[in-house]
């Protein structure tokens, strides 16, 4: 075996990667080779120096922040990936079911809530009669709008062209706000509707509904709005709405996230108040949560929040 190979074996030996046989060979070589013996000592020292001086370790606070952000991202991802056809089918079933006019409050939903993809999602079809994958009759309806047309292939040399477009149909819907299907549409609207007024209205309507507190999907969606909506008014209404749900770990994470990250002091105040309320009801904060609140107690530019953060910490002392 060449000398250089023994040097490589020294590295592997220090990482416990040698077989018993190889280890014996190396040991035998080291007994007679001063150079390799020195290399072993130097290598040991070097690797321990590199280990001991790596300053960062993953602390709980960083991990907690990463988890909160992941939760938000996953929430958005789940909503994005929810199959639009399912929503479409649900709406169609609502339209075809017997009228459910009721004695309770009725809500009229305009299709502003229902984005194009919800009912007539983006369709691709080829303008050729024998290979038609889309019902062109739907396009002739007066209330179907065609937008966002883009050519995939405008070359007519083969007698065909190809393009994609959005076919959007306005839908008007009546139903009980307590109907889970209606709630699903409202949930979709509060997350995806471009107009903040519509998002706000969706949340306000949900607030009047008593049966949403056991629905985990709605809860996750409201938490996502609290943490990610760009409009502080919408976030504020959403934070009021999540207080209707049972306090648990996910709510605590949302409140902590808002307390640490939201630019609106009103929202941070709402969060710290909710956390104090939960503490008074006996809900425990973990050590890394306490550290985050301590950080806020020192850094927040709002006197009231700093004071309340200290109050919250006192609840645990």
């Amino acid at each position: 075996m060449k000398h250089n190979e023994f040097r490589q074996m020294i590295h592997l030996s220090l990482y416990g990667e040698l077989s018993e046989d190889e280890q014996k060979k190396l040991k035998h070589h080291l007994e007679s080779c001063e150079e390799c013996k020195l290399e072993l000592e130097q290598q040991k020292y070097f690797l321990s120096m590199v280990s001991e001086n790596r300053k960062y370790k993953v602390n709980d606070s960083l991990l907690n922040e990463a988890r909160v952000q992941l939760r938000v991202a996953l929430g958005s991802e789940m909503i994005k990936n929810r199959p639009t056809s399912t929503f479409g089918e649900r709406i169609r079933s609502l339209l075809s079911s017997p009228p459910r006019l009721a004695f309770s409050a009725l809500v009229i939903l305009l299709a502003g809530f229902v984005l194009g993809g919800l009912f007539f999602s983006r369709q691709e079809f080829i303008l050729q009669n024998d290979n038609q994958t889309f019902n062109k009759a739907a396009l002739s309806q007066v209330d179907t709008r065609i937008t966002n047309l883009q050519f995939v292939d405008s070359d007519q040399s083969d007698g065909k062209i190809e393009f994609i477009f959005d076919a959007v149909k306005r839908v008007q819907l009546k139903g009980k706000v307590s109907d889970p299907e209606i709630q699903r549409i409202l949930t979709y609207a509060m997350l995806n509707e471009q107009n903040p007024g519509s998002r706000l209205n969706s949340i306000n309507v949900m607030e009047t509904c008593g049966n949403i507190t056991s629905d985990k999907e709605i809860k996750d969606a409201v938490i996502t709005v609290v943490m990610t909506d760009e409009n502080p008014g919408v976030r504020m209404e959403a934070i009021k709405l999540i207080s209707k749900f049972n306090y648990d770990e996910s709510l605590k994470q949302a409140y902590l996230y808002v307390l640490l990250n939201d630019s609106s002091s009103a929202l941070r105040i709402a969060s710290i108040n909710a956390l104090i309320q939960a503490a008074k009801s006996g809900y425990q904060l973990k050590q890394n949560d306490i550290e985050l609140v301590m950080k806020q107690a020192k850094l927040d530019d709002n006197n009231y929040i700093r004071l309340k953060s200290k109050t919250l910490l006192e609840e645990y002392n």
């Binding site: 490589q8 590295h11 592997l12 990482y15 990667e17 130097q42 290598q43 020292y45 070097f46 690797l47 120096m49 590199v50 280990s51 001086n53 790596r54 300053k55 960062y56 370790k57 993953v58 960083l62 991990l63 922040e65 990463a66 988890r67 952000q69 992941l70 991202a73 996953l74 991802e77 990936n81 985990k216 996750d220």
Partner: protein, 194 residues
Amino acid sequence: MELKDKELINKAKQGDHDAFEQLVYRYDRSVLSVAMRFVNDPDEAKDIYQEVFIRVFKGLKKFEFRSEFSTWIFRITTNVCLTHKSRSKEQMKFSFNSELLNEDDDFMSKEFIDDRISPEEKASMKNMGEFIDEAVENLSERQKITFILKHYEGYKIREIAEILNCKEGTVKKYLFDAIKNLKNRLKFLVAYQT
């Protein structure tokens, strides 16, 4: 009783969010640790962490237990680290052409090869940890990820080969080159310490 990965994966595949969360919590500290060591920046590390678990979430349905779940996660982590780094490198306009550096280069930054500065002076400029971070940071991407997985995370060479999807011999080469380059970059520090 704690469920095995396989049981949690199957539940998560059926849309059980709690099962998915449990899976995340089993591995996320290690993923964040690798990311943190790779980019040496908490915000970037959190970005990588998020990207990894979004990819895991999206890909879980197609996971068919052909490898260990942990291997799959760290393969994703490695890929995200490598692509993340190349993105940020594109954004940063280096004053020198980093593309000229290849895996075998014993490149040393100007600071390290400036013999006019004594080891004592160099060592007093920053603390030792910063020099080591910088030296690891300057390794080639593959040397760096191999060194992190082996030295800091304690993976076996066989496992790293599976994660990086290459031969064990290749992993050994990355590791030896990484150590050689680190030793070169940090030799003034070793001299100062001894």
